[in-house]
């Protein structure tokens, strides 16, 4: 007797659930299309000055990390800062071309582990947050750097 209302209810609930899921996906994709900023990622990172500040905060954090600072013992930090800023600018569609060494060669035989790499990512994300970079720009920037993991790890 009560099969019909139960079934109907269940079907409705299930459809509602699937529809909600679909709407979530569509809304996010649609939202993406609508809110896609016309500015470049470079601008959203604060342009030349913004990127310089990010690099500075990032390197200060790395210098304070006893597990990472050793990798930079023989590094000219000013040169590294310039090279990083240049790379961040290029990666974020800024008016630069990265002219440093390829990632795999720059990190060759340094004994870098995934743990080191992850720590570095956390320092960079923290630097971005401290510079008040919006979440969307942070995600996009980290997403563009993420594939470099393979190159950095190639000759460890």
């Amino acid at each position: 007797m009560n099969q019909i209302p139960t079934r109907t209810y269940r079907t409705l609930a299930r459809r509602a659930l699937q529809a909600a899921a679909l709407i979530t996906i569509l809304a996010s994709v649609g939202g993406c299309a609508h809110t896609a900023p016309s500015t470049t990622l470079y601008e959203r990172l604060g342009g030349e000055n913004g990127i310089e500040s990010i690099v500075e905060r990032f390197l200060y954090r790395v210098a304070d990390d006893p597990e990472l600072v050793g990798f930079f013992a023989n590094t000219n930090i000013d040169h590294l800062a310039g090279s990083l800023a240049n790379q961040f600018c290029a990666v974020s569609n800024g008016p630069c071309r990265y002219e440093g060494p390829p990632m795999e060669r720059a990190h060759q035989n340094m004994g870098i582990t995934d743990a080191h790499f992850n720590q570095l990512v956390e320092h960079l994300d923290a630097a971005l947050r401290e510079e008040n970079i919006a979440l969307g720009a942070r995600n996009e920037f980290l997403g563009r750097l993420a594939p470099m993991h393979a190159d950095v790890m190639r000759y460890q």
């Binding site: 609930a13 659930l17 994709v29 582990t113 995934d114 743990a115 080191h116 995600n139 996009e140 393979a150």
Partner: protein, 290 residues
Amino acid sequence: MFRFTATPFIARTLCRLAGIACVGLVVASSGAQAGSRIMSTGGVSAIEGAAGGGLSPWAVLSSTASDEELGATAFASRAWLDDYRLTVGGASLNVYDQVELSYARQRVELQTLGGELEQDIFGAKVRLFGDVLYHPLGIWSAGVLHKRLVDGATPTALGADHTEGTDAYLSASKLLFAAAAGRNVMLNATLRNTEANQGGLLGFGGDQGGREWVAEASVGVFLTPHWIVGTEYRQKPDNLSVGREEDWQSLYSAYFFSKHVSLTAAWLDLGDIAGLASQRGSYLSLQAAF
């Protein structure tokens, strides 16, 4: 009668949840080292103990242990359905982000039918290749879940062939950066070979069929780096003629307070279970990792 059985049960569950929370707080406050992997890349604990969503194992390995670290998690979960209550407690170990070993104890209280069913689930998951964040193809893992009913009398009476069984699965997970309105999107797909009825709580195999491949998938959006909302879908076999078995689905929200503590809430639709129609309800899961 219901009240008498439910009260100590709730008390035990609360104690267990509180215990997990305490472990998390102690670990967090003692400054115990978290793994170096980025927060939330270990997912939460699925009801079968493996790292995943709530219903389905994912390819990521539990905790935030990286290639030279060990990680451990403990969790307690509870689902309140129309005619059943499921309680799960368990733990997992991540060895160098290559192997995950897990254990879960599931107990379902049959509030309408009376009685309870329990099973132990021993899990092992091996990372095949990749990385959920850094690899273009994400992370791929293969795993097994060996399940043993504590008392198989009821499932056997319902027509199940066995009281223990093993699921095998292949899973892939990938985080898409800034994929939806600047937010990161988590995708997971799992293929599982199983003969488990209702996850194993109603035994393994039956008069209508046995081992088969089923698909599971989930998609979630990280609204913030701490908070993901999404949905999960899990196909199910349908081996017992006494009660139709249906696919499971959920809408979930998981909050990562830190690398150490996460709380997941979900709305479940588990379909018909053992002849009782359309089991829906809520789900809470607390996880501590270190």
